[in-house]
Amino acid sequence: MSDIPAIVATDVSRTYELDGVSVTALRGVSLTVTDGDYLAIVGTSGSGKSTLMHLLGGLDRPTGGTLLIGGRDVATLTPPEMARLRNETIGFVFQSFHLLTRTTARDNVALPLVYRGIGRRERRARAGEMLERVGLAHRMDHRPNQMSGGEQQRVAIARALVTGPSVLLADEPTGNLDTTTGQSVLALLESLNADGVAVVLVTHDREVAERAHRQIVMRDGLIVEPAPLAPDAGDGTA
């Protein structure tokens, strides 16, 4: 697993058909995410960064180029195989948390394991461990509406981690949080990255992006600024 880069995108493009008009959101992007990477994708809204994130996470398929996730070409995968790939390889963290509102923190975290066919007892045990890891051992049986924004995002991070993914995709993870809480969430992501999980941050916030090992700046569906900061860089050139 460690021999194969987690994600390899080669000249990937994505075109949408909207009412008969084709709109190109990505026009040939190449990018590699290796294990342990800490990468920020920066860009204004409409730059194509969200589209790129959906592709990297296996939620969508490119209309051109090749995209390998966990060494598998997504073009050859059926929707159920894509679902399985997401479940095993990718962890998502969203700006708006996307927690199930009527469900406890523990069961929210356990959700991805449901689709892996793991029994309830083990799910709850593993979810408990993850919540401890993100510092929410005391909030396990609380529902999202009983928690602060920062706590909710920690629950979402625990959910993203529970399947042991190789890549954590975070879409504006601090966008709905105040600065202090945002900082602590970033610190959490960084400590997870230190433990070996690749983290890909999508953000329009330069300050947040600065903390990553390397940044990719997007504009109009293209990578315009490869700015390698980390010593192992060299990938990600357009």
Binding site: P80, R86, N87, H98, L100, Y115, G117, R159
Partner: protein, 394 residues
């Protein structure tokens, strides 16, 4: 996703929207309750009528003048007491042959009156039909032979005329002619819509004199066994036709009567069930509607579930089970309601009701099927949602 897990998720979703779930179920509840109750009433009525026909006696053969066909004109009876002798010879036993000449008459005892169905009969009646006496004795052969003016009263007539007093030995008048009461029947109730407790039996000879006629209305024969009943009927009809070449005669058995009645009631029950079934169908459309709303409402949830690894099938199954759960829970409640309604009708109204296992099984099966049929479209729609679009939905 495991099936047990899918059930749990579906149940949680229903609990989360309790009021809406209950209202959605209501359509199915009413539909199933209506099917169960109406089928129970239909079945109960059929059973009651069957019991009544069978309660007349066993292996009965009724011989009437005319043809028993749809559209045939009612015919005037040409039968007389002489024919009874001829029929008795065919049957081989006079005690198996009963006759009636009937007329509605006002019966008086002192100042009290009762409108009764006067039946002129032979002394053989109790050995042909099931007729038990409460008090006194029945007519004898000599009563018939001498046209003695004696009467046996139905339970209803006896009560109307004499209340709690013993009617045996007392005088009554039928159509102005005096008769002496020699017996009363046990209570029988209604049979095929006729109040059998308002009958008054008198010797057929006395009845003919009273009515100024020598006709009889019908013959009833109790066949020795079931196997020979049809040939016996044919033989009797042949013998009568020989004596009255200008007339037609028909012989019907209980089974034939039951068959015709059963067909009519079966159709009626079917129509009732179909009408109730339509309401079940409407309930199903309601379920479909609400499931579509639910899919739209939970688009974000669907997107999230897909993002963390739910396959289209998992999502589809979740919504399908939700629909099935709605209709089967509704079905069970509807069954309970339908059974209660049937029992209430049975107890509090003259309409009988009998809940049958097959109608319950059918109602439950249909409600589950309604859930599947009307849940499929919303479930497919949910399963096919594009996760990217779903996650973006507000």
């Amino acid at each position: 996703m495991r099936l047990a897990e899918a059930w749990r998720v579906a149940l949680d979703a229903l609990r989360a929207n309790r009021l809406r779930s209950v209202l959605t179920m209501l359509g199915v509840v009413i539909g199933v309750a209506a099917v169960v109750a109406l089928v129970a009433i239909g079945t109960g009525t059929k059973q009651q009528i069957e019991q009544q026909v069978e309660g007349l006696g066993s292996n009965l053969l009724i011989v009437v003048p005319g043809r028993l066909e749809a559209g045939s004109a009612p015919s005037v009876s040409t039968l007389s007491l002489d024919d009874v002798e001829a029929v008795s010879r065919v049957v081989g036993d006079r005690n198996r042959v009963a006759v009636t000449v009937a007329s509605g008459e006002t019966v008086r005892a002192g100042s009290r009156t009762s409108f009764a169905s006067m039946q002129g009969v032979l002394e053989t009646t109790p050995s042909v039909f099931v007729r038990r006496l409460d008090r006194g004795s029945y007519l004898t052969r000599s009563d018939v032979n001498t046209a003695r003016r004696v009467a046996v009263l139905g339970a209803g007539v006896a009560t109307q005329l004499f209340g709690d007093r013993d009617p045996i030995g007392r005088q009554i008048t039928i159509g102005g002619v005096r008769f002496r009461v020699i017996g009363t029947f046990e209570q029988l109730g209604q049979s095929l819509g006729v109040d059998r407790d308002s009958e008054v039996h008198i010797p057929v000879t006395a009845a003919q004199r009273l009515l100024g006629t020598d006709r009889i209305d019908a013959l009833a024969i109790r066949a020795p066994d079931r196997e020979r009943i049809d040939t016996l009927g044919a033989d009797i009809v042949a013998a009568l036709s020989k004596r009255h070449p200008e007339s037609d005669f028909s012989a019907v058995t209980q089974e034939q009567i039951l068959g015709v009645l059963g067909d009519i009631l079966g159709v009626l029950t079917g129509v009732l069930a179909a009408i109730a079934g339509i309401s079940l169908l409407v309930g199903g459309v309601g379920v479909s509607n609400i499931m579509l709303v639910s899919v739209r409402e939970r688009t974000r949830e669907i997107g999230l579930r897909k993002a963390v690894g739910a396959r289209p099938r998992d999502i589809g199954l979740q919504f399908l089970l939700e629909a099935v759960l709605l209709t089967t829970i509704g079905g069970v409640i509807g069954m309970a309601l339908g059974i209660s309604a049937a029992l209430l009708v049975d107890r509090l109204s003259p309409v009988p009701a009998a809940v049958t296992w097959w109608s319950l099984a059918l109602a439950f099966g249909v409600s589950a099927l309604v859930g599947i049929v009307f849940g499929v479209v919303p479930a497919q729609r949910a399963g096919r949602l594009d996760p990217v679009v779903a996650l973006r939905t507000e």
